[in-house]
């Protein structure tokens, strides 16, 4: 975005189209948010609250409701937290272990490649562990990313025990004094109990081998995913202690609005946004820019 208008200025644009706060206004607001995959319940609650507030304060003019809306949306996302919790938890002088989890095809392996590159640019020594021993070509894929980022990949053959690979990775990372070990895992749908147990086991191995680890468990969510992302966040949080989300494929037209509800209900922040297939296409998540994005279509239509 060329001009970084403030959140409220953008909302102002949206709201300027309506002179009155009426049913149409609320209907359009509701549709915009639902179209962005913001949780249906979150949207309904938000709109109900807004309607109540409008009644209470006897608001007639859309300009006045602008502040209320922006307040509420940011409140839904941040809750009572400070705005600065999205930083990655990397230890200063000891090994940090990052476990990357998620359903099939969301972008785990790619995000690991990008993250390894980013951390290396920051001067960290990084290693990867090829914990997806199941999917065809998964190890080769991580290997290519390791090569691109210029970091070592610890791997075993296809079909070997993921926990054993991760164990190996930790041993190697310790002996080579690496700063960060990032562990890839196979994609798994959250309703597969066996696979979720396998993940819990991998997590236990990491806990056992490195005190305080895993320092981050990153759940990768595909922005194209709808309401099911909430169920993913819940179930993966049960199996591991998910500490942050990587929201991928935001370079498409999907908005990934469900992370608002996930943050609100489960207090899991988004830490990174994936914006393409290239090694540089990973950015720190900017909640404000994200919330603008939810309204982007409406604003564009407006500009036409």
């Amino acid at each position: 975005e060329k001009t970084r208008q403030s959140f409220s200025v953008k909302l102002n644009d949206l709201i300027a189209r309506y002179r009155k706060v009426d049913e149409d206004f609320f209907e359009e607001l509701e549709e915009v948010l639902i179209a962005a995959d913001v949780g249906v319940n979150t949207v309904m609650d938000l709109v109900d609250e807004l309607k109540m507030e409008v009644k209470r304060q006897n608001i007639k003019d859309t300009k006045e409701i602008k502040d209320v809306i922006s307040e509420k949306l940011v409140e839904i996302y941040y809750g009572d937290d400070d705005e600065e919790v999205e930083k990655l938890n990397i230890q200063e002088d000891e090994l940090s272990v990052i476990l990357v989890v998620g359903v099939n095809g969301v972008g785990k392996t790619t995000s690991i490649g990008k993250l390894a590159h980013q951390l290396k640019q920051e001067g960290k020594s990084v290693m990867l562990a090829a914990g997806d021993t199941f999917r065809a070509g998964a190890i080769e894929q991580l290997d290519v990313w390791g090569g691109r980022a210029g970091v070592d990949v610890i791997k075993q053959g296809e079909g070997s025990d993921p926990a054993a690979v991760i164990f190996d990775g930790i041993k190697a990372a310790k002996s080579r004094n690496a700063d960060v070990l990032i562990c890839d895992t196979a994609g798994r749908l959250q309703n597969k109990v066996n696979l979720m147990n396998e993940l819990a086991k991998v997590n236990r191995v990491i806990e056992r081998e490195v005190p305080g680890a895993p320092h981050e468990v990153l759940l990768v969510l595909d922005a194209t995913t709808g309401q099911n992302a909430m169920s993913q966040a819940k179930t993966f949080s049960d199996a591991t202690d998910v500490s942050g989300i990587v929201l991928t494929k935001l370079d498409g037209t999907a908005k990934g609005g469900i992370v608002l509800a996930i943050r609100n209900e489960l207090q899991i922040p988004v830490k990174f946004a994936g914006l393409g297939e290239g090694i540089e296409d990973l950015q720190a998540f900017d909640a404000h820019a994200f919330v603008y994005g939810l309204f982007a279509d409406l604003l564009e239509e407006d500009a036409e």
């Binding site: 639902i34 949780g39 969301v106 070509g137 894929q141 194209t224 709808g226 037209t253 297939e277």
Partner: protein, 308 residues
């Protein structure tokens, strides 16, 4: 989100209106509100939901209440009929070219399941139809995409055509077709790289491949967990490629799968197969009826209504 089935949600609404002779406008309004929420929670696109609710209202208001059904059940029946109509009744088959080989081209967003589904289709064609397919590795972009397809080919013992990552996907497709003719394969399945529907260059590449191999089937592979954006994706791919069908993957998960409805509504193209797991034999014919029930989260209630 613990999904409450629509049936349970309608119960309380229905209690208020049992014992009535006719379904009133107010009854329908209250019930369609629940239906709307259920559909949105299932990720059916909001525009599709809007149209659907309008039709349901028109049909449901003023109906005589049947003896065997409560007004609530009656509304559900209308909903189900509308959904099933929308999903399309017929179960589709894979095309057969007049002169072999039959060419199938796979397309879709990144990570949707194209490569896996290519393998599954090859397996299906060989096992169920006794065909001899050739898999074609036309994804030269994703790291190890060719390795992935080659591994799949090995697992199935199906040959894989590849020219490495330096070749152009259009040339790969053309040469693969040549080879398939020479070697008398009767199916050619072209695995393409994942791409965004708004990526002009990569979408043009698909159009070129299409022009060169003249596919008998162009399948859009869609992740069943897709949300509201499914309509944009399906509409764009269909406009640019003129799809022949859709494969919905990852239906072995706990998603409601409303994307199925959205895609059908905007493209009119049949959903031909459902991916039901990561293994290469986990491909099933798509069943529109049971998908309608799944979206509403209410298989049992619907089968009761069927009997009524």
């Amino acid at each position: 989100m613990a999904f409450e089935g629509l049936a349970e949600r309608l119960q309380s609404t229905m209690k208020k209106i049992t014992g009535k002779g006719k379904v009133s406008e107010q009854d329908v309004k209250e019930m369609t509100r629940e239906v709307r929420l259920a559909l949105l929670e299932a990720d059916v696109n909001f525009k599709v939901v809007k149209d659907l609710i309008k039709r349901i209202k028109e049909r449901a208001v003023g109906q005589e209440v049947m003896e065997s059904l409560t007004p609530g059940q009656q509304v559900i029946k209308v909903v189900k009929e509308e959904l099933s109509d929308l999903m399309g009744g017929e179960q589709s088959k894979i095309a057969v070219a007049d002169r072999p080989p039959t060419v199938i081209m796979m397309a879709g967003l990144q990570g949707a399941g194209k490569t896996t589904t290519s393998g599954k289709l090859a397996n299906h064609l060989r096992k169920k139809h006794n065909r001899s397919p050739l898999l074609v590795a036309a994804d030269v972009y994703r790291p190890a995409a060719i390795d992935q397809l080659e591994t799949v080919g090995q697992q199935l013992d199906v040959p894989v055509f590849s020219k490495g990552t330096d070749a152009n996907p259009v040339d790969i497709a053309r040469d693969a077709l040549e080879q398939a003719k020479e070697e008398h394969h009767d199916y050619v399945i072209i695995d393409t790289a994942g791409r965004l529907h708004v990526d002009g260059d990569l979408m043009a590449e698909l159009e070129q491949i299409k022009a060169v191999v003249d596919p008998d089937e162009i399948f859009l592979v869609v992740d069943a967990m897709t949300g509201q954006d499914a309509v944009n994706v399906a509409e764009s791919f269909n406009e640019q490629l003129e799809l022949s069908g859709v494969v919905l993957t990852k239906l072995d998960g706990d998603t409601r799968g409303g994307a199925a409805l959205s895609i059908k509504a905007v493209t009119g193209k049949p959903i031909k197969f459902a991916g039901m797991g990561e293994k290469l034999d986990q491909l099933e014919p798509f069943r529109p009826e049971s998908m309608a029930s799944r979206i509403l989260g209410m298989g049992d209630v619907l089968s009761l209504i069927d009997k009524a």
